[in-house]
């Protein structure tokens, strides 16, 4: 039997022009989350509890695309989703389309532990959240100025933008040009193929 091990991520597909200070910010958050998990593991916490603890921290910090700081829908709202799985007996829980649950990963954990199902979505997930008494907040809590700007870029570029942390530039127009220049593809097709959907 080996010792404990842990890994965290904050998303893949990083804009090559990401400013150094934003890269540093990201590394500090990742380090903080690793250390949070490590001290829990050193105290013999179980893997499933450490996963929930660390993802909650990542959801609460607005830096990455989850919880507060989530990407915005075409309507400028936030719809979040999460899942968790315990390798022992392969138990799992998932939620989609939640708009007021402060920590979706904890609701997914409750689906796994406190419901007869593996997945609840939209109004059913929100009703279960109220029944379980998890912390609820207004949808505005999840919306950041950065992401309002990113949504504007995406609309000007008429595309679905990945979670690029596009460097803050002088004006949205210039940044929009950057976004349009970025030939973002999805499944090998130009992203614009998906936009009309």
């Amino acid at each position: 039997m080996g010792g404990w091990a842990i890994a965290v991520h904050g998303g893949a597909g990083v804009d090559p022009n990401l400013p150094a200070e934003r890269q540093e910010e990201a590394k500090q958050l990742l380090t903080r989350c690793l250390n949070l998990g490590i001290s829990a593991l050193e105290s013999n916490a179980s893997a499933i509890d450490v996963v929930e603890l660390v993802v909650r921290e990542l959801e609460t910090d607005p830096l990455f695309n989850s919880g507060r700081g989530s990407a915005l829908t075409e309507k400028g709202t936030v719809e979040m989703e999460a899942s968790i799985m315990d390798g022992t007996r392969r138990r799992c829980g998932a939620v989609s389309g939640v708009t007021t649950v402060k920590n979706p990963i904890s609701l997914a954990r409750l689906v796994m532990d406190k419901s007869p199902h593996s997945y609840l979505a939209f109004s059913g997930a929100e009703a279960f959240a109220r029944q379980q008494g998890v912390e609820l907040v207004e949808n505005e809590y999840f919306i950041t100025e950065d992401n309002v700007g990113m949504l504007k870029l995406a609309k000007e570029a008429n595309s679905i933008l990945f979670d690029y942390r596009i460097p803050p530039v002088g004006c949205a127009g210039e940044a929009a040009a950057t976004a349009i220049d970025l030939p973002t593809k999805m499944n090998g097709l130009p992203i614009s193929v998906y936009s009309p959907e």
Binding site: A5, V8, L30, D163
Partner: protein, 131 residues
């Protein structure tokens, strides 16, 4: 998208993923993160959390595939991660982190950078963005 994978001292693996999805996505769109077997998977052998182009990850059942090639092809964790990133994504772009019941940790991605941090009980720790 954010994720965490852990194996504890008892060799138990777990995985979790959480996201807001894609900027400017359609209302009601569901990505890979909540889909067990696509964005998130854990078994007795390993725990996996994925991020990237959700539609590609779903079609590849990427997270489950890491466990499957470990089970059926006998690959070790990093080999399994490299194999699925190389062979399962078609033209899609994605990244993933994984742990095994032996206390190993691995990550792989075929896109431009991935925000990740990894640590093991023997003192190894790495936080990185680029290759």
């Amino acid at each position: 998208t954010v994720g965490c994978v852990v194996v504890d001292r008892e060799g138990r693996c777990a995985a979790g993923t959480s996201t807001g999805g894609l900027m400017n996505k359609m209302v009601g769109r569901i990505g890979d993160s909540p889909l067990i077997g696509a964005g998130t998977y854990a078994s007795e052998l390993c725990g996996v959390s994925c991020t990237g182009e959700g539609e590609a990850i779903i079609r590849a059942t990427l997270a489950r595939d890491v466990a499957a090639v470990m089970e059926y092809k006998g690959l070790e964790l990093q080999e399994a991660v490299d194999y699925v990133i190389k062979n399962r994504l078609d033209e899609g772009f994605a990244g993933l982190i994984a742990v095994s019941d032996k206390g190993e940790v691995a990550c792989g991605f075929n896109c431009n950078g991935m925000f990740r941090g990894i640590a093991t009980e023997d003192g190894f720790m790495e936080v990185a963005i680029w290759e």
